[in-house]
Symmetry: C2
Subunit: 116 residues, 2 copies
């Protein structure tokens, strides 16, 4: 039996996971997507309020990043003052299962911590 081809193993097993980590990495991105999953189309300020602790700058940066990755869309309305709404794309919504799973595990983990 030949040794495992490590580089190939890496490409097939680890790299896709790294891709996801890169896309949703950082402290807030996943929570932003989660917020949009629950809130639907949401304005900037409203989104910020739904994620206690996040600053405007970080939210702005992360939203840009998510938009460039095709996860969300940004729509500007020419009101006065202007309003901007963010929304998950269909592609972004493919993250739903994953994110709910992450949250689910966290809930179980919380039970475990509390019952210790």
């Amino acid at each position: 039996m030949p040794e495992l081809d490590r580089p190939a193993e890496c490409a097939r097993h680890l790299m896709p996971a790294m891709d996801t980590l890169e896309l949703l990495g950082g402290k807030w991105k996943l929570l932003i997507v989660l917020g949009l999953l629950y809130g639907g189309k949401t304005r900037f300020k409203q989104l910020q309020k739904s994620i206690p602790g996040i600053t405007g700058k970080v939210l702005s940066n992360d939203l840009k990043d998510l938009e460039q990755n095709g996860i969300i869309t940004r729509t500007v309305y020419d009101t006065s003052p202007i309003t901007v709404e963010y929304e998950l794309t269909p592609y972004g919504r493919t993250l739903e299962k994953l994110i709910l799973e992450i949250r689910e595990w966290g809930m179980i983990h919380r039970q475990r911590i509390l019952s210790e």
Copy 2:
């Protein structure tokens, strides 16, 4: 219809996700767990080779962290030189579904990127 109780919403929806992020956060922890999922009981050096790019220091730190969180066990064998093996705990294995899901999404994402 009353306004949503934001703090409570936060606690129920966002905090569990943050918990998981904290536990698996950083650049490598998830890959370490993934490596142990695939490789089973694994020695330090072997684990390092299975995760190209990770340095000994980071691997060591992350393993300590995962051990303290009950995700993995560390077993020292009194050979010469000593060998140390790491293994997922049953609790750690509850992360399997989640981690495979993360990888799965990354694979689909990869397809999407390549076919653009």
